[in-house]
Every structure is written in C-alpha cells, then in structure tokens.
Symmetry: C2
Subunit: 444 residues, 2 copies
C-alpha cells in the first residue's frame, strides 16, 4: 500500500481523555476513532490488525474442531425469558423496542440463541460432540466505558459453545478449547496464563481466565514464574487424543496461578520466592463449563445410547478480538509508539523514501515495493513528501516491525538500511539482499 493512496490520519498528540497506552497509541496512530462513549470506528490501520487477530483466532478454532456460524446482533427478549436471564441481567443489557413494540435486545452474549439453534436440529448423542462458534459484535452498556477498546460498549467477541452427551465428553471439549487458546495467544506473541476462575453456582474447576501480564492490567494476579517459559502445544497436536490434551491441561494448571478474586496467599507462599510473580494482568480469554444451566430450562435434550433423554452438557469459550488488539499494544510498546509482533502487524514492512522526488531513490523504492508485494509481504510504502524525521516518527509510532530506509547517501554505496522495530537494531544491505531478507518475514 502506498501511503499517498491510503488513509492514515496520524495525530500529533493523544486526546486528553485517553488514559492508558493502548488507547492513546491507537488514537495517535490513526487506528480507531471514537463515535460515541465506548463505541469506536476502526480506521484502515486498526482494521488490518483486527482482521489478523480474527484470522488467527479462526484458524485455531477450526483446528480444534469448532465450526463457524454467525448469529445476529439483535435478539428477542422472549429467548432470554426462557433462561430467566432477561430479568436477571442488569442495565448492561441494551434493551430495545421495535416498531411493533416487541421487546428486543442487542446481544451481550449468545448462550440462549445457540441453545435455541441446537435444540431445533440436534436430538441424538450421535450428532455430538459439537462446538459452534462465531465472531460477532456484542454490546454491553457499561456505566462508565473507558480505556478505549479495553472496556468499550460495542466490542467484537469470538464466542464458542460446546455440546456434549455427558460430563466426561464435556471435559474433553473444554480441553480442546484450553489448548486452542494457548496456541491462539502464543501465535500473537502473547504469554497468556490460564488462571482458575469463579464458576459460581455451577461449581467444579472447569473455568479459566487467560491473563497476560501488563502493568496497566485491570486486575492483580499471582503466578509461578515458570509459566512464562512453558512452550505452546505444537501445531500438529491431535485434538481427538483425549489423554494428550488432558496432559497439556494438567501441565498448564500444575503450578500456582490466580487472580486476586481467587488468590490464596498461603498456597502462593509455598512457591519459591524467586519464582513468585505478583503483577497486574489483562484478561484476554475466558473458558467455562456450565453443564446444563441453559439446556435444562430451555429443554435442549438429547437421547443417549440407552434410550434415555437428558439435557445436553454445554460450555462457552470467549475471546475478545477488539480487546486483544489493545491488550497487545499494552504488552508491546515503547515511548516512540507501538511495537507489533510479526503475526498481527498491520504491515510487516515499511519502505521509507528519504528523498521524495529524487529519481534514483524513487526507483529503488518502487523496485523494493514491487518485489515485496510479489512475495506477498504486507508492505507500506511511505511515499509522502515529508521530512525523514517525520517519516521515522510515523513508522515507529504505527509499529511496523521492519523498515527499509532508502536514501541517496546509502544508494551511492549501493546500500539501503533495515531497521527492526522490536529491538531497534539496524543493518546495511544491498537492495537484493534487503528484498531477500524481508521476503522471509512472515505475513498474512
């Protein structure tokens, strides 16, 4: 993409209302614009990151055997009356009356609707297990939306719902998502640690929040330091292998890890002092087995092999892609701006033309631009008539992992410079070498 044909509205200063790094940087980098309190438009650069996050989430859901659907945003109140949640849900539910005075709502979550879909079609254990997910906009009417995408009102959510014949099978479905989540966050460069979460009246221990450590995190968390070095499950892992998945889950739940709500100071005290991590964290995912909480009142029953008919066992599994974009920035930024991990960077490489209008410089930029595009590298060509300093600042701000800096001085020696945003390292290379090097860079 040529910047001269793109829409990248950079702000010199962050609007005053922005309190945390991700909010400030997303506004300054022209990624989002607030349209109402807690409601944002994604500008082109922000949408590119969101789409890359979605693509990873989707790939890992599919790999784990979940099947994508797409439920609508507007739901009927009657559906929520079946589960008893219409009255129980507080003011965070955006309630709506349509032109015929029918009570509707903007879905804050989809347990009721997916249960309605399930019961309409599935009647037998033979059609189980089943896991259906979608990626759709949700609305929660927060009393005080803030921190940009971190606590917005309209937000994107991937929510998956599993259906199983019994508890044992449901545990395996839960474990599939547990492993998928580990892979999903790791692929984005994030260290997400599963922490036991509250299960409320359901009981049991099948509820985990996935938390990344970041100084601006909303909650206090405590965990064993070894988690930070655990490896993610391999790409080819067999999601049908119950024992194997259980082994992964056992390992990832073997050490201490808890949010402040579930914190047990005594248990944490038993962790060796140099292995204790006490930090702030951001929740980026939540998985939850809730058994027959919805299937029982909503009569989503299945016949068992012995002919009996029982409510189906369910779990739900959420990731907020729009929130993840912000959380990634909290984890990866410095004073100059964002430092995108390779996998979710809006562009992987930026070409900086240091002397716009200079024939030779322009030609080499074009050559590199064409070559990288041909190799499928997402490339932003900064071809505006701006000072080099402004170009450096913009490219650092928007966090492109690799910059190719092309100017007459270097070209006199047949060289261009590559700067890597992650560590600030630089190298001088010939044009062909630079192209070869950058083509090895991962992209979508």
């Amino acid at each position: 993409m040529r910047l001269s044909k793109y829409f990248l509205p950079i702000l010199r200063e962050a609007p005053r209302e922005a309190e945390i790094a991700s909010h400030k940087l997303m506004l300054r980098a022209g990624m989002i614009r607030q349209e109402s309190a807690g409601i944002y438009a994604f500008l082109p650069l922000g949408l590119r990151v969101l789409n890359k996050v979605n693509a990873i989430v989707r790939e890992e859901q599919n790999r784990a055997g979940a099947i994508e659907v797409l439920m609508p945003t507007i739901q009927s109140a009657d559906l929520w009356r079946e589960s008893g949640r219409y009255d129980a849900y507080g003011k965070e539910m955006l309630r709506i009356k349509d032109r015929h005075e029918r009570e509707m709502l903007y879905g804050p979550t989809n347990e009721e609707m997916i249960t309605e879909i399930f019961r309409a079609y599935v009647k037998s254990y033979k059609d189980l297990p089943l896991n259906l997910y979608h990626i759709q906009w949700k609305f929660r009417d927060e009393v005080r939306p803030r921190f940009g995408l971190m606590r917005g009102r309209e937000f994107l959510m991937k929510d998956a719902y599993s259906f199983d014949v019994d508890y044992e099978s449901a545990v395996h479905s839960y474990n599939r998502m547990f492993v998928a989540y580990l892979r999903t966050f790791a692929r984005m460069g994030l260290k997400a640690i599963p922490m036991v979460a509250d299960t409320g009246p359901i009981g049991g221990n099948l509820s985990h929040e996935f938390i990344i450590l970041a100084s601006t995190g909303e909650s206090e968390v405590f965990c064993h330091k070894d988690y930070l070095d655990f490896e993610m499950p391999e790409e080819g892992i067999d999601f049908d292998d119950r024992a194997k998945l259980q082994g992964v889950v056992d390992r990832w739940t073997s050490l201490y890890a808890a949010t402040s709500e579930k914190h047990d100071a005594d248990a944490f005290g038993k962790v060796a002092g140099d292995r204790q991590v006490s930090a702030r964290g951001i929740e980026v995912g939540h998985i939850f087995y809730f058994g027959t909480k919805y299937s029982e009142p909503m009569k989503a029953d299945v016949t068992h092999p012995d002919g009996s008919v029982k409510p189906v066992h369910m779990g739900s599994y959420g990731i907020g892609p729009s929130r993840l974009v912000a959380a990634s920035i909290e984890a990866f930024h410095d004073d100059a701006g964002i430092k995108w991990p390779e996998e979710i960077a809006p562009f992987n490489t930026a070409i900086l033309n240091l002397k716009q209008g200079d024939g030779m410089t322009g030609e080499v930029c074009e050559q590199i631009y064409r070559a990288l595009n041909a190799k499928g590298v997402d490339t932003l060509y900064h071809d505006l008539d701006e000072r080099p300093g402004a170009k450096f600042a913009t490219t650092d701000l928007i966090g492109i992992p690799h910059q190719v800096i092309v100017g007459p001085k270097g070209l006199a020696n047949g060289k261009v410079e590559i700067k890597h945003r992650a560590d600030g390292s630089r190298e001088e290379l010939g044009v062909d070498q630079a192209i070869a090097k950058l083509s090895g860079v991962k992209s979508s």
Copy 2:
C-alpha cells in the same frame, strides 16, 4: 470437511412461511435459521457462501482503490440531527435509549458517520480523492419483513463513500465504483444490468441500480437484450484512466434499461422487438452521487488549490452481501435444489461414499479427499451412513458444483463418476484423472 464432523441440518420440507425459492432452499439446505422476524442466524453452510461473496466484494473494492474501514453498528442520534435525517427517517430506523437515556440508533446506513470521520481528519484537496468502505450489519425495521434474506431487518451491507474536490473528480470516483460493480457481479456468475435510478432532489443522472433478472424479482424491469452479452471489464483495467472508465460506463448506459419507476414506454418502443426484454428483477447494488447533501450541513469542507474552502463532493455505493446470497439462489436453482456458481459455492466438490463401511470404497474416498484438500479445493466428504439416494438428494439440494461418486461397482473397473450440478452431465474417470480434473476447479 467431513460431513460427520460438520453441522449441516437439512430439512425435508421447507417451513410454510417461506414463499420464494431462495428462502425455502436456504432453510432446507441448513444455511440459515430465523431467530426473530427478519433476523437470521447463518449456519455453517450459509456463512461459507456469505464469506465468499464478501471476499469478492472486498477484492473488487480494493482493486478500484477503495480503502476498508469498519464503523460500529450503534450510532448517536445527535449525529443524525446534524444532517436533519433523525426526524426525517421513519419507523424503519431502530431507535434505542441507552442506560443514561441518551438517544442512539442501530445504523440503517452510514452517510453521517463517514462524513463525521472525514471532516475530523481531512482538510485539503491534497488528500483527495478518497473512498472509504466497510462491510457491516445494518438494521431496517421493515414493517413486514419477508422473503428471508431478501428483505430482512438485520442485513449485511457493503457501503462505500467517495470524497472528491469537485464534480468532475466525483464523476470519476462514481465511474470507478460502476466498473467495480460490473466486475463484482460478473465474478459471481450474475448478469447485473445498471439501470438509471431516481436521484431525488439532487438531480443529474449519477444514480444507478444494478439489477439481475429473476422471475421472483420484486420489480418490473425493461432493457435491451444486448446487455446480457456484454463482457465485463478486464481484471487489469487501470482505475486511474478516466477516459477508459468513462468509455466503459458510456457503453453500459448506451442502451435502454429502466425499472418500472423510470420506465419510458416510448423510448422502450424504439428498441427492436426481438431485442426487448421485459422481466422481473432483483436489485443487488445501488450507486449514487449526492454532491454536498451531507457535507454542507455537516461542514465537511476542504481547501482548494486556490485557497477557497468548499464542501466536499460525495457519493455512496451499496451492495448487500446477505441479499446477494439469496439473489444468487433465485438465479441459480432447479427443482432438486441450489446450483451454485463456482465462485461462491460453499464447497466446490463433494465426495459421495456410496457404501459406507466398505474398505476399498472408504480408502479411495479418503485418497481423493486428502488429494483435493492438499490442492486447496474446498471439499465436502459425505461420509455419513446413509443410503446413496439420500446422499444424492442432499448434495443436489445444497448445490455443490461437482460431485465425485465413489462406489464398489465403479471401483471394480477402476472408475469413479463425476457429476456436474450445473448441467447434470456425468463422466466416468480413473481416480487420478478425477483428482486432476477436480483440482483444476476454482476455489477460494
């Protein structure tokens, strides 16, 4: 995808409320489920088609130079008061009050919001032309939603908005979208004819509806038959070439074409009798230059080269992907079911195992399945324990373009059968030949 691991809830009979072919077939083929009046969930098969439609729309928008953003669904009433449309818009607007009693609405369209985004960042002719689009859910509270996705309440819309310094430049932006729309529909196998549409108080002739002919169409249309044989603009067309694009537009508006609202019987009478087409049509796209209708009241001004400051010239360009899915079915179906065009088929090939449990048959099916997946062909393997007749019926119903029929009888001669859904033609081939043939089939 193995059908045994998929979610494809086929209905034997169409629910009684479905009146038109696309609605009936989408329900029967397990593509959608109604959740409320005019509000549908996309089941896995339906979502696959919707995503393929979106991908084509997106590719052609990008090719024409439009840049993707993503605006939220919920908008503030104040924004619409600026343009004067909040009061003018009727009961089709879904009006909402949030917990603080602020007036909000579910966007039926986005002229106001995109104008707000534009004026926040763009001040100069130097940043023009600009075309921003998004693909997002909209809501229009139809008094009597019907015909399934054809006239739903919550629907997906691609809407693009162009910004230009003056009328001449706006015409070129309009022509870009005109050409992009021709290519978009043609790639989906649809013959869409641009017909002059009403411009209301704006005047001029820069408004076209793109109409496909289908017997269940909502409106009566009249056009010259030659349009049906016109070729679509080539992939490599230069969207910066004003004269070239104007030539395409001139050609595609040179012959008679009008909906009943704009029909001129005298002018139509001058078309040679054997070239007159009088039919029913479905609107699948609408493009519209509206000048300064929104930029003037909303003060979206740009400075001109001479230093003057004037309201920007705008146009909007809509395609409804969810409606297009239904419209395609209206255009492509027979008594047995849907006949998907290659480019938007949910799967391009289905493998039918005629004797589930038979070792040799199963092995060959697996071999073909693996080979086609490796080649990137979207393949559905019908591996359920059902009679051959049921498998034929399902595969015809869901409209997969190519079926590989594998049974012990054919295999005894080393053959499998390929059936093409479009024309019902069949051929017997060796396994390797069949794989080679089907690998040439286009897919996503």
